[in-house]
Amino acid sequence: MNSLVLLMVLPLFAAFIIPVVAKFSSKLALFTGPVVLCINLLLIMSAWVKVGSGAHAIFLGGFLPPVGIVFYIDHFSLLFSGLIASMVLIVWPWDAKESRLYSLYMLLSAASFGLALSADLFNLYVFYELLAVATYGIIAKQKNSSATAASLRYLFISSAGSVMLLLGIAIIYTLTGTLNIAHLATMTENLHGFAGLSAFALIAIGAGVKAEMFPVNSWVAEVYGTIPRQLSALLAGLISKLAVVLIIKMLLMVFQVQAAFDLLLVVGMLGVISGEMVAWRAKDMIRMLSFSSIAHLGVLFIALSIGGSKGLWLAIAIMLHHLLVKGGLFLMADRFSGHFDKLKGLAHHSPMSAAVFLVFILSLLGVPPLPGFWIKMALVMNLAELGGGLYYLAIGVILLATIIETAYMFNLVQTMYLKADADSTPLNKRYSASYTFAKLFALLLLVSMVFVSPISKRLKDIANHSANPQIYIHTVLPARYLGEKS
């Protein structure tokens, strides 16, 4: 089991040797990354079976917690690891000529694995920063210089967010004297005061920069507007979720209090409304998708604000759904960029792609029997069970957002099914691998529609298990800390 640390170490190793390998054979350097990711996938699968319904902790350096760094392995973290490996494989830069870019992708995946697995607050910060730096690099490396400018602007706000995150960590450390999340979970009463919750707010908003949280997501449109669509699929589909995973870990293990939930609820609602409103005015696909993505991350925060295992399973479901749908849409957008008017008649040029597009959109809107519907239904019902003004408001916001979303999405669909003008041929008609993957995503979506019940049951199990601080604490901490209350 200890070898699971290789999930994170192997990509790092690959990242370090790729520049040297590239001096001998650029082909070999190109293939190093995918090979490593495939090995990781195998590792994840075997670990998935081995972990079973339990959980496992890896004590790095052999130091027992809380003094050392711990990797916490359960199905939740393995699920994310699997997604990371697959997603990076999907968007691997096959046509890039730069070996250092491969390194950056490997660093990105290593950081992502670390974020998924680590159970140490500062370690999470380090991986968060590594993720950030790799992301800046990948964005900045795009051919157009506007990507560099977008990356720079992203860097400023994201670094400021990281400093907030660091301040939050400092406050938590000052209050408790530990960084291990399981250890923190045993002394929540220290942290549920104003200072502790402020630390949570700082962490949530700091990490929220990457998670496209409401007030700090102005980078989204700029960055997604300048980078290739596959990369947008990666950022919107996965990287944003990893920042959310950081927030989830803090929220579920340490900050299960109403004030924290309310905070997430409010930013979630604002994100939903603002995202949908702006997407409604968008006139090109990428901008529309960017803001729609913001809105859906908002829905995710609303789901998290339910708290406990219910909130977590909904959040996982939303993340997976959003990964498939938004990832798929961004991958599709590779072919259909540009002003909406240029998409006129697309359905006649390529009925298949229009159909795939439609499947994504319908699921996004929550049309039964697609998975999106069940998620929305479960979310709304859970919010209703909680009751209370803010939660009812959240229901209203989600449903209102659906209406707005219908309006703009179907304006686009309508355009696609219009008769084409004689001279308008959709852009980028060439075949692309990302389109194939988009079709695959759509297929997955349809398959999951059939298996909605078993999948949701599985997710609920995972969430029940992962959202339980007691399991977490007992897995991670040695016995002598268990009874200890600060």
Partner: protein, 149 residues
């Protein structure tokens, strides 16, 4: 109040002020280079806060030397963390600087606002639409184009 005018009180004050000055710089500076300097200050302040979290009055440096076996040591963990944070900071700083070089070369300007509007225009051009907020932008897309009824 009696706690404030102590070493740690003063230092917390200094750390928060340093962060705030950095943040203020991030808010009001237009020049990219100065934004970078402000970011450095902001990070430095946070680092100081982190080190302070391990501070003990009358503690000694966490190094085992022959003479100090009995004394109380400062918490070594925050120091290690700050070590990491400082190095991360300098990496990001160098990265930002290299991006600034390229941005300067491309846009010929160091003004964040100029760059933002140029960037916005470029994005819009790439997408084939008019930039948001521009005067020549057509009226917003109607939600529903109803006809006369």
């Amino acid at each position: 109040m009696n706690h404030f005018f102590t070493v740690e009180g003063i230092l917390y004050f200094g750390a928060i002020s340093l962060s705030i000055i950095g943040l203020f710089g991030l808010l009001v500076s237009k020049n990219l280079f100065r934004l970078l300097l402000s970011l450095v200050l902001f990070e430095a302040g946070a680092n100081l806060v982190l080190v302070l979290s391990g501070f003990i009055r009358n503690g000694i440096a966490p190094i085992f030397l022959d003479g100090n076996s009995g004394a109380v040591m400062n918490d070594p963990v925050p120091q290690a963390l700050v070590l990491t944070a400082i190095v991360i900071g300098v990496g990001v700083q160098a990265l930002a600087l290299s991006l600034i070089f390229r941005v300067k070369k491309h846009y010929g300007s160091m003004d964040m606002r100029t760059i933002r509007s140029k960037l916005e225009r470029e994005i819009a051009e790439n997408a084939g639409v008019t930039p948001p907020g521009s005067n020549e932008a057509p009226a917003p897309v109607k939600l529903i184009e109803g006809e006369n009824s």
